[in-house]
């Protein structure tokens, strides 16, 4: 029994990490119809900034705070320099430009931080293990789960209870109509894009103590994250939650129950979902 509780926590932890990454991607897509393949590279950038911030401040929380800010700033530069220009260029061109961005960002991280794998330690506050549901589980992983749930709740409140949330929902539904209603859609896009980038940076800083920080970490996680977003249905918070949980649990329990199939499992899931539900499970628009 304890075994399954721990494995369920493992699945939840992975799901939350995937959620932090995919929510930015999916909201950007839902609102702007913009496919940002460079999202993974921004996550890697967050992890690297986290490493430097840790070296600078000597504290994990330095990384935790500075990484989202730095990546959001990178998002500002990207938005003003490139993304804004590509807004009306169609999904194909956006895929291509951001594919090019992957290469550029990858080499920039290599030039600044080198090829060697780096890492930062867990925060003092969350070292060791804690007792949950009768099992001892790494505290830092519990922190990731908690953080994921907090962000989830925060975003849900933001989207459903606040004015800006209503504006975002209106924009996702019909951006032209929203503009007619006097919503400054351009500014909304800009804000959402920066929040998405900040969340990617946050995910990088949160992942850094668990995973090694390498130049390829972004491309490695890009595909699982794309799968999450597409399975869930582009643009919806509910979709991102469902997709993260599905992928996280299938990867975890696939590894436990059918190790031979573990690596094919998520691709099979993706293919199956898209064949039967061509727009994902919870598409933002009916």
């Amino acid at each position: 029994m304890n075994f399954w509780i721990v494995q369920a926590l493992n699945g939840l932890q992975l799901s939350m990490l995937l959620f932090l990454l995919s929510i930015g991607l999916t909201v950007i897509f839902g609102l702007m119809h913009f496919v940002n393949l460079a999202h993974g590279a921004l996550y890697a950038l967050g992890a690297y900034v986290g490493v430097s911030a840790f070296a600078l401040t000597g504290m994990y929380w330095g990384a935790f705070l500075l990484a989202p800010i730095a990546v959001a700033l990178a998002g500002v530069v990207l938005y003003l320099g490139l993304i804004r220009r590509m807004r009306k260029a169609g999904p194909m061109n956006q895929v291509l430009v951001t594919f090019g961005l992957i290469f550029v960002l990858l080499d920039i991280t290599r030039i600044i931080w080198g090829d060697l794998a780096l890492s930062i330690p867990e925060p003092q506050l969350f070292t060791g293990r804690s007792e949950v549901l009768g099992v001892a589980y790494p505290t830092y992983r519990l922190f990731i789960i908690g953080l994921g749930l907090t962000v989830m709740a925060g975003l849900w409140l933001l989207l459903s209870r606040t004015q800006i949330g209503a504006m975002i929902r209106a924009g996702v539904d019909n951006d032209q109509m929203a503009a007619c209603l006097g919503i400054n859609v351009e500014r909304l896009f800009f804000i959402v894009f920066c929040i998405g980038c900040a969340l990617a940076g946050l995910a990088g800083a949160v992942a850094a103590p668990v995973l090694s920080v390498t130049p390829s970490m972004g491309t490695q996680l890009l595909i699982p994250v794309l799968i999450v977003v597409v399975i869930g249905g582009l643009g919806s918070l509910k979709g991102a939650i469902a997709g993260s949980l599905l992928v996280g649990f299938i990867q975890t329990f696939g590894a436990v129950l059918a190790p031979q199939l573990a690596s094919v499992a998520i691709y099979a899931l993706l293919a199956a979902v898209l064949i039967f539900r061509p727009a994902g499970l919870f598409p933002a628009k009916a």
């Binding site: 668990v210 590894a255 690596s263």
Partner: protein, 387 residues
């Protein structure tokens, strides 16, 4: 692809040196290493070690190094090798980090009769069933590094293990050699998992499964980023207190020790080189490498060094062209940074000591390797190799 990192300076030096000593033939060396991608840092270490050996012998002007980038891709590696052999007509090839690239170029190297000094790639076949008189390996074979751990672990009182490794050829060879030796000694393997290579970031599910099997110890092979992930996650689950971690020495290589941090403390592994070996040869090497690269050498640096050193020894013995270099390499024998080594005439693989070590905190507070035991002159069986 096919990056010719002709470091302009080195090239110019070699050229001017050639004209100065026209009577001595310059040996063209084709260096095939990954300079970009996941293995780039290994390529860099090997390259630096190789050049150090030439400098130490004062023979940099006898060799003209032509560098080609494999990007760790077999396709690119094959193209690079063909170019070096057919267009540059090099006298000797060296390098090879990835076993996949070595397997890919094996036939071509053999048929073109170009000697190749392997400075990393450890696939057992290269000096086993697929051996070639033209392929000499001065690094290690996957089996060689792990086999001694089978008996050693049993002697420490470990009776049952659970093994983990990435699901690719090298992963299976590292684990396979250990398991065979461990079972021969009388131990029992309770379970084995092979994790999807390059896709597994979270080892949690595997660690939990391994722990549930309740073995005396866990034995793993991981390298690079995966090694760091694994060691840290193993530590965070607190398995260390009940079930010690053993493995192939790449797990706690000098290269990753900083990133792994305190999580690596107490992990016991086996490898063919430690920067902390207490021999005059190693102390001189570490000092020279630190002066050059400003960091401690890893096993990759020493492999590059020994590739260079073996070539120097062969040339000193009078070798001048492909055929004579190939012959002379077989007789290479010296005591280097990693101890006494020679080339096994039966397989062309290196015969060397394997060191069993754990990770402790050094006097300066930094993590360091502590030698526990030495298994001397480990030699592979021919395994179907006929030279």
């Amino acid at each position: 692809m096919n990056l010719i990192v002709k470091s302009a300076l080195a090239g110019a030096f070699a050229l001017s040196a050639t004209t100065a000593m026209a009577q001595e033939d310059v040996i063209d060396v084709g260096m095939i290493l990954p300079y970009v991608g996941v293995y780039a840092s290994l390529g860099e270490e090997i390259d630096q070690g190789f050049v150090l050996a030439l400098e130490e012998a004062g023979m940099t002007d006898r060799f003209n190094i032509i560098r080609e980038d494999t990007e760790a891709s077999p396709q690119v590696g094959v193209a690079a090798t063909r170019k070096l052999v057919l267009q540059d007509e090099v006298d000797v090839l060296t390098g090879l980090v990835s076993s996949g690239v070595l397997a890919a170029i094996r036939d071509f190297v053999d048929q073109s009769q170009t000697p190749l000094i392997v400075s990393n790639a450890g696939n057992d076949e290269a000096t086993g069933a697929d051996c070639s008189p033209y392929i000499t390996r001065v690094s290690f074979s996957n089996a060689q590094v792990n086999r001694p751990m089978g008996q050693w672990l049993y002697d420490q009182g470990v009776r049952t293990v659970y093994t983990l490794a990435p699901d690719y050829a090298a992963g299976r060879q590292h684990i396979g050699a250990f398991v065979t030796a461990f079972e021969a000694a009388g131990g029992e393997v309770l379970g084995q998992d092979y994790t999807p290579f390059g896709q597994t970031q979270d080892f949690g599910p595997y660690l939990t499964t391994a722990q549930a099997a309740d073995p005396d110890a866990i034995f793993v092979f991981y390298a690079g980023g995966e090694a760091i992930n694994f060691v840290k996650q193993y530590d965070s689950f607190g398995i260390k207190d009940e079930t010690p971690l053993y493995g192939s020495g790449f797990l706690t290589s000098q290269l990753y020790l900083d990133a792994e941090g305190p999580a690596a403390l107490g992990v016991i592994t086996s490898l063919h080189y430690l920067p902390t070996l207490d021999t005059p040869e190693n102390k001189a090497f570490v000092e020279a490498f630190q002066a050059k690269a400003n960091r401690l050498p890893s096993e990759y640096a020493v492999q590059g060094y020994d590739a260079g050193r073996a070539l120097v020894e062969a040339v000193k013995a009078g070798a001048t062209d492909r055929e004579s270099i190939k012959e002379a390499l077989r007789d290479v024998q010296y005591t280097g940074p990693r101890g006494p080594l020679e080339i096994d005439p039966a397989t062309n693989n290196i015969v060397q000591n394997v060191y069993i070590y754990d990770i402790v905190e050094g006097e300066d507070g930094k993590l360091t390797q502590e030698l526990l035991d030495t298994v001397e002159a480990v030699r592979d069986e021919p395994n179907g190799c006929e030279l």
